[in-house]
């Protein structure tokens, strides 16, 4: 699967895409979902949560383990993808459609990579 060129990526394997200047949707990358395997539960954040760039946003459970998902930006959670509550496997099926949370009022961002730079990070880890 190719990483969309209009998305941005962080080294901890989350993606974000700008909905507008001050609002992003966040999810996990194809590389991340492949590494975790079948997801069985997404412990979604709550609307109103304040996020800190580089700190845990929420966690997801695969059959084998639990993994933290890190917020790529500091801001406020203004929407969550409630469909993932009953269908965590959507992340495995379409990681770049299955957004986890929308974060607005952004005050800080992690180092953002474009698709090519992110793929280089993945290649190093493989």
């Amino acid at each position: 699967m190719t990483n969309p060129s209009d998305y941005k990526y962080v080294r901890s394997h989350e993606w974000l895409c700008y909905v507008d200047d001050d609002r992003v949707r966040v999810g996990i990358t194809d590389f991340a979902q492949q590494a975790m395997g079948d997801l069985v539960f997404v412990n979604l954040p709550i609307v109103g949560d304040m996020t800190t760039a580089g700190e845990p946003l929420c966690d997801v459970e695969s059959v084998k383990s639990v993994e933290d998902i890190f917020a790529p930006v500091s801001g406020e959670v203004t929407a969550i993808n409630e469909e993932l509550m009953d269908h965590p496997e959507l992340i495995n099926a379409a990681p770049y459609d299955a957004w986890i949370a929308e974060i607005s009022h952004i005050t800080d961002t992690e180092e953002l990579l474009d698709a090519a730079a992110y793929e280089a990070v993945c290649a190093e880890e493989e």
């Binding site: 395997g37 412990n43 059959v63």
Partner: protein, 358 residues
């Protein structure tokens, strides 16, 4: 440095995701994924490399006396060709390991031990040898393949006619697709199945024969991930989780394999301990989330114990866990709370096993 099993190249060729486990490099899953592998075993069939398991042999006039002294179960009355589970205990009643004993002859027993406990088991067994017996560790010479699932009967019948008909029985020196093996009707999944012990050098050919024979039956290779979700769903205990050196067999709910009316190492301590102070129970998670191991369990606000294993069970379609809790603190149907990383989620006390084949 992790070792490779004789089937390592097969796993890589099949796209297995290799991880270190108990000193071996083994596939945690194949491209199908843990859920598909788990479902294959429940509905069709799955093939596992369990060559990491250790095998030792007691042989000689005092073989029976030795195993009866070092193991909690009683092997006095046992037919050749049968398999019997046991614990091996320390003097204090804590568990060294749990294992399977295969009676090969009146004076020869094959014992299968956990990979992670192999070294300490062998040391413990050697320390306690007595009389006229030889003890041999054949772990490196033997590969073990598990064929598990309702289609296992059909698949194995394509390769041999010598099939053990009873659960926990085996036949030695069976020709399976032309390869000599020990075939036993055993497994660690809760589904019908077989385990095949074969010379290490013959393992890749046996693996391929089984995959070929199962091609039309939906057989797929399965990894450690599915092995763990299957055993949890069937509520089978795992050393290091449901019991260890600090947990007695009775607390772990394994008293059926402890015969106090004979002499064995640990018996005095187990008798002195009296009624178990803790018990193993099943939890069906009601809230959103997955209970894993080492999470605190509360009943009516009071800490009563901790979870020992837990995961999402694909066939039952929910999260289940086992827990070690204060004896008689809850009954089936009671609702407890489990602390999952700071969040309390509800779970119901349910009977074990969670999954039992029809």
């Amino acid at each position: 440095m992790e070792r490779k099993t004789p089937l390592y190249d097969c796993h890589v060729a099949l796209g297995g995701k290799i991880v270190p486990f108990a000193g071996y490099l083994l596939p945690v899953q194949y491209p199908a994924g843990v859920i598909a592998e788990h479902m294959a075993v429940r509905t069709k069939c799955g093939l596992f490399d369990v060559s990491h398991m250790g095998e030792v042999v007691y042989e000689g006039p005092d073989a029976l006396a030795n195993i009866n002294k070092i193991l909690t179960n009683d092997y006095t009355k046992m037919d050749i060709g049968r398999v019997r589970y046991s614990l091996m205990c320390y003097e204090n009643g804590g568990v060294v390991d749990d294992l399977l004993v295969y009676k090969m002859r009146d004076d020869k027993y094959l014992i299968v031990v956990n990979a992670g406990n192999h070294d300490k088991d062998v040391e413990w067994m050697k320390e306690h040898l007595f009389g006229d017996v030889s003890f041999t560790d054949i772990s490196d010479d033997v590969a073990q393949i598990a064929l598990q699932g309702p289609a296992s009967d059909t698949i194995i019948a394509k390769l041999t006619q010598d099939i053990p008909q009873k659960y926990y029985s085996f036949i030695d020196n069976v020709s399976i697709g032309g390869i000599n093996a020990l075939l036993s009707q055993t497994g660690y999944t809760g589904s019908k199945g077989y385990e095949i012990y074969v010379a290490a050098a013959d393992a890749p050919a046996m693996w391929q024969n089984l995959l070929d024979a199962g091609q039309d039956e939906g057989l797929i290779p399965c990894g450690l991930g599915a092995r763990d979700t299957l055993r949890l769903e069937a509520a089978m205990p795992l050393y290091g989780h449901e019991m260890d050196e600090t947990v007695s067999p009775f607390e772990a709910g394994l008293g059926f394999a402890v015969k106090l009316d004979k002499d064995f190492i640990g018996r005095d301590a187990l008798l002195a301990a009296g009624e178990p102070k803790r018990q193993r129970v099943g939890l069906k998670v009601l809230g959103r989330g997955i209970v894993r191991e080492h999470q605190d369990v509360y009943y009516q606000g009071e800490l009563i114990g901790h979870s020992t294993s837990g995961t999402h069970c694909p066939y039952l379609g929910g999260a289940y866990a086992m827990a070690l809790i204060a004896a008689n603190s809850v009954k089936n149907g009671d609702i407890v709370e489990v602390d999952v990383r700071g969040r309390r989620i509800e779970a119901e006390i349910v009977p074990l096993p969670f999954y039992k084949r029809a």
